[in-house]
Structures are given as C-alpha cells and as structure tokens.
C-alpha cells in the first residue's frame, strides 16, 4: 500500500517562530488533507489540498502532486498551535479511504 511519511517527527519552537512540516507519499493521490490533533484528541481539518497552494491565516500549505509531497507552513507560531499534525492521502484507486502519516508532534513554548 501507499506509504505516507512525515518529517520531522518532533519539533520544538519558541513562540513567534516559523516552521515547515513535510509529508511525502509514495504513489499518486486523489486527495490530501492536513489535520491538527489538539490536546483533547480532536482532529481539526486544516486544509484539503490535492494540489496547489492554499492559505488560511498564519497557516499555508502546498502540494506538488507530481513530486509526491506536501508542505505545511506555520508562521508566527503560538502556544495553541501545539499538538500533532497529520497529513492523510487518498489513493487513486477508486476507494475513498484516507491513509494517515505518522504525524509531527509540535510543541510551542512561550
């Protein structure tokens, strides 16, 4: 099956710093989503981004489908950005299941 790898696995930032999280996937995909899992375990939709670039406030994401990677940018990080960030992809197989990466655990300290 498709492999979804995220890097770095762990990241510690000072408040106000910028960061880039990466998601590599091993096969063609129909869908790519980024999620933030908050300390209560909830999965918050950040981006639906099968290709191209999107921005939402301090967050932006870029997917280069032909090169099989996606990037999530966090600018001016805040303590509330702490948590685990997952990318998830849907393969180009006719089924709609999402395959999740192993996540990047982010800790933003004041």
């Amino acid at each position: 099956g498709i492999q979804v790898e995220q890097s770095p696995p762990d990241l510690i930032l000072q408040e106000g710093a910028n960061s880039t999280l990466r998601c590599n996937f091993s096969d063609s995909v129909n869908n790519l989503q980024w999620f933030h899992q908050n300390p209560w375990g909830q999965l918050i939709n950040l981006f639906y981004i099968p290709s191209g670039t999107k921005q939402n406030g301090r967050l932006s994401a870029t997917t280069v489908a032909t090169e099989r990677y996606s990037l999530l940018y966090i600018s001016s990080s805040q303590t509330t950005d702490s948590g685990v960030y997952f990318c998830a992809v849907e393969m180009n197989t006719g089924f709609q299941k999402l395959v999740f990466g192993t996540g990047t655990r982010l800790l933003v300290s004041p």
């Binding site: 129909n30 909830q42 999965l43 849907e90 999402l98």
Partner: protein
C-alpha cells in the same frame, strides 16, 4: 457550520461486552467512515459505507465489528465482544460525494474514546 457529531465522548466497558458508538454525519453527505487511533499511534481506516452498504473495510474490521445506518441521520459502529486491544479513539467521518477525479474532503467528528477494562 455543519459538523459531524459523535456520542458518547468517552465509554468505559468490560472485556467481552458489546458497545455501540454513534455518529451523526453532516446531513447532505453520502459517504461515511470509521477510523480508529490507538493511543500514541497514527489514525487507521476501519470501514467506509455508501448507499447502505460497506464500500471497503480494512483487515482490522473483522467479524466483531459491524456498521449500520439505522435511520436517516445516525451511523453506528458496533463491537460485538470487546477486547483489551480495542481500546482506542474512534473517529467517524463523512464526505459529500464521489468527486472524481479528485477525492472529496472528509470531515471528522470529535471522537469517542473507548476504554476496555
């Protein structure tokens, strides 16, 4: 903004007992899913459901698991005889339609944390 809801938020059960986890997908969505996340691990697909039948299921989704859409709004996951290893966060998700060539965005509920003692 419409959202997926799940009940209960936390369920504690004894090994061997049956549990039913409930979800209300977004009202105009046609695809429904269950995923689970064992503590500290990544989220794993269990099953997808469309047009009142299972579309796809993973190896995890064995005979102990079943899904049902008992009415026009609810979507349930039943675990017939729970095991210790079923302890996990269970997420329900829904998506609007099959939008080829692009897949559709899936929206996740807040999860049910199942603890099997």
């Amino acid at each position: 903004e419409p959202e997926v809801t799940q009940t209960p938020s936390h369920q504690v059960t004894q090994m061997g007992q049956e549990v039913i986890l409930r979800c209300v997908p977004i009202s105009n969505h046609l695809y429904f899913y269950w995923y689970r996340q064992i503590l500290g691990q990544k989220v794993e697909f269990l099953v997808s459901f469309y047009n009142n039948e299972i579309s796809e299921k993973s190896e995890i989704f064995d005979d102990q698991f079943s899904v049902e859409r008992p009415d026009g709004s609810n979507f349930t996951l039943k675990i017939r005889s729970t095991k210790l290893e079923d302890s996990a966060m269970y997420f329900c998700a829904s998506s609007e339609r099959v939008g080829r060539p692009r897949g559709d965005e899936q929206f996740f509920g807040p999860g049910t944390r199942l603890t099997v003692l």
